[in-house]
């Protein structure tokens, strides 16, 4: 569905910067991130822990914890800047036009309320509906996310559900008001592998049936390859590479993306070659390096990389890497093919 990249985006994030402030100083979690999400597409945001991928999405809905602060940027949704909207107007959008699913279904549901109540309260908050109408809608939603004997399970408490079932409840809550955009923050990370498949399949089916746009945040490239249309690769609070999923997997433009792909096992490959880990560890975001944050771990690092932060080179498929500068040395597999 790369054709979805055409037209007006439903969400347009520009130059988003978010920091956390503590006694130890400022931690720059997100340092100027821009991306678009188009109606009906699934955008994957991939990166390792601490890359800023979750913070980016939490910033868009302004759901950061007390120590986090959005320093600059805009997030245009439906013609409104979510970052400039007043709190009351933003509350009308949260859970309504934008639904959100979180990583850990074991802790994301309130243990003292029935799951039915947690769905129903969302409907009642955003829709003109009586309680019984909201209840009927909740049953419909439970059936939609394939929770068996939906009507009876409304009265259950979260602790009476398995992890996979709880995540289905979370999805039902997120979809309660027919959102135009669904943000799924590592929705399968905390689940068993078999359950991961089910939830991922469910998300893909629902997206196809309901037609909303989805942002899928994950560190799992397998998940990304399976369901997304476009990818944003984040590292050190920055977008390192972005492009349609096929292009990006076939011709990764950034050494970091190449490293990520090389560190994933390919079960179709019988050559018994060893997986290649990326050496080193991510930069300390309390003191981010002046240049490219990947410099210290990059096999192709040049003097220029440490000196200055590269811009994004390219258009629909772009990478933040000096190797794509016209005067950069040629490196097979990176800028030779891409050039």
């Amino acid at each position: 569905m790369t054709a979805a990249t055409m037209g007006t985006p439903i969400l347009s994030v520009r130059d988003l910067a978010t920091s956390f402030f503590s006694q130890r100083g400022e931690v720059q979690a997100v340092r100027g991130v821009s991306f678009d999400v188009h109606p009906g597409e699934i955008l994957g945001i991939v990166g390792e822990s601490g890359s800023g991928k979750s913070i980016t999405c939490m910033s868009v809905l302004r759901l950061l914890k007390a120590t986090g602060r959005i320093k600059s940027g805009s997030a245009l949704f439906d013609g409104q800047d979510l970052l400039a909207l007043d709190e009351a107007d933003l509350r009308d959008i949260r859970g309504n036009k934008i639904g959100m699913i979180f990583q850990d279904p074991m802790t994301s549901l309130n243990p003292t309320l029935t799951v039915g109540e947690q769905v129903i309260e969302t409907i009642l908050r955003h829709r003109q509906a009586t309680r019984s109408e909201a209840r009927a809608r909740a049953i419909e939603l439970f059936e939609l996310v394939r929770i068996p004997s939906a009507a009876a399970r409304l009265k259950s408490y979260p602790h009476e559900f398995s992890g996979g079932m709880r995540q289905r409840v979370m999805i039902a809550i997120a979809l309660a008001c027919d959102p135009k955009l669904l943000i799924a923050d590592e929705p399968t990370t905390a689940l068993d592998v078999t359950i991961q498949r089910q939830i991922l399949g469910l998300l893909r089916d629902l997206q196809a049936r309901l037609g909303m746009a989805v942002i899928l945040i994950t560190h799992d490239l397998g998940v990304i390859a399976e369901v997304t249309d476009r990818i944003v690769v984040m590292y050190g609070g920055l977008v390192m590479e972005t492009g349609p999923v096929r292009d990006l997997f076939a011709r990764p433009m950034h050494p970091y993306t190449r490293g990520l792909l090389a560190s994933v096992p390919d079960l179709r490959d019988d050559s018994h070659k060893r997986l290649t880990p990326i050496p080193g560890s991510p930069p300390d975001m309390a003191h981010p390096p002046a240049g490219c944050p990947f410099t210290a771990r990059c096999p192709h690092a040049m003097r220029q990389c440490a000196a200055a932060l590269p811009p994004l080179f390219g258009d629909s498929h772009a990478a933040r890497c000096w190797l794509h500068h016209a005067e950069a040395p040629r490196i097979a597999g990176i800028n030779e093919v891409a050039a």
Partner: protein, 309 residues
């Protein structure tokens, strides 16, 4: 649930029996007795008194006859005040203690919890600092010091309230304030820390992501989860407040049972000591049972199973 409550009541009776037995023998192990005083009684009179109250019997006979009385809800006659039964003693002292105690409980709940909420919502800003300062003072300063200072300022200097007695509502102000001061402060601190911990939970982020209003988030999602530790403390606090405080009742000259309890100990008024101990133990156990039942209401993960007891 009903089986659970029945089992608990059974356990309570067993506990009460243990308390009665322990108190009875401990009390008799202490040298002296109700009729020992500085002015020596004539031996015949002492013997007559001992015979009248059954103190000349072997101790196990006394124990059994007392136990029989307890089972028929008769706590016996006072040894110190002739003609006054312990039942009457509790019945006259209790209303006074209960009134001030319940008012103090209301203060603890109606002031302590809101103070904690305000502090938590304004973490590290001035309302938080103010509440925490008041609460720290309240926890640190003993109630008799507070009571004395309050009496001096509001009763003696300003004359707004009487120095003793409960003739009208103004008489209640200082005793209730002095009684509840510590617990208001304690509950405020506890509510604040519990709420701040709840705010960090993932489901609170979910509640915000659903677009719920701040009031819904605080009361429906936040407070209920934060109240379990507060309720835990409130149970014994209620038992404590409604059974009276010797110090406060003494300072404000209130004829409550807290005062009677301590006087009965100095008087070696055996039946009074026993009676009030039983009463206090029963009140405490009932409150703890209520707290346990409330847990299940507050948190559905807590199952009250008959098998546990």
């Amino acid at each position: 649930m009903p089986t659970y409550i029945l089992q608990r009541l059974g356990m309570m009776l067993l506990t009460l029996w243990a308390i009665v037995t322990l108190t009875f023998f401990l009390m008799h192990a202490v040298p002296g007795g109700p009729f020992v005083s500085e002015r020596m009684l004539a031996p015949e009179i002492a013997a007559a008194l001992n015979a009248k109250y059954g103190l000349d019997q072997p101790i196990w006979v006394q124990y059994l006859s007392y136990l029989k009385g307890v089972l028929t809800l008769d706590l016996g006659p006072s040894f110190k005040y002739p003609g006054v039964s312990i039942n009457t003693m509790i019945a006259t002292g209790l209303p006074v203690t209960l009134q001030t105690g319940l008012l103090a409980v209301i203060c603890v709940v109606a002031l302590g919890i809101p103070m904690g909420i305000v502090a938590a919502l304004n973490r590290n800003r001035w309302p938080d600092t103010a509440v925490m300062m008041i609460a720290t003072i309240g926890v640190a300063i003993p109630s008799y010091v507070i009571a004395t200072v309050l009496l001096y300022v509001f009763a003696l200097r300003l004359g707004w309230v009487p120095t003793f007695g409960l003739d009208d509502w103004r008489g209640y102000v200082l005793p209730v304030f002095a009684l509840s001061g510590f617990w208001v402060s304690f509950v405020a601190r506890l509510t604040r820390s519990s709420l701040l911990e709840t705010f960090e939970q993932d489901y609170m982020t979910t509640a915000r992501a659903k677009g719920l209003r701040p009031g819904q988030i605080l009361f429906k999602h936040g407070l209920r989860n934060s109240l379990v530790p507060v309720v835990t403390v409130l149970g014994p606090v209620v038992a404590n407040l409604i059974t009276g405080s010797f110090v406060i009742e003494q300072i404000f000259a209130l004829p409550g049972i807290g005062r009677q309890f301590v006087l009965s100990i100095t008087n070696r008024d055996y039946t009074a000591i026993m009676g009030i101990t039983i009463f206090y133990a029963a009140a405490l156990m009932v409150m703890i049972l209520i707290v346990d039942l409330l847990y299940a209401v507050l948190d559905p993960r807590i199952k009250l199973s008959g098998a546990r007891a």
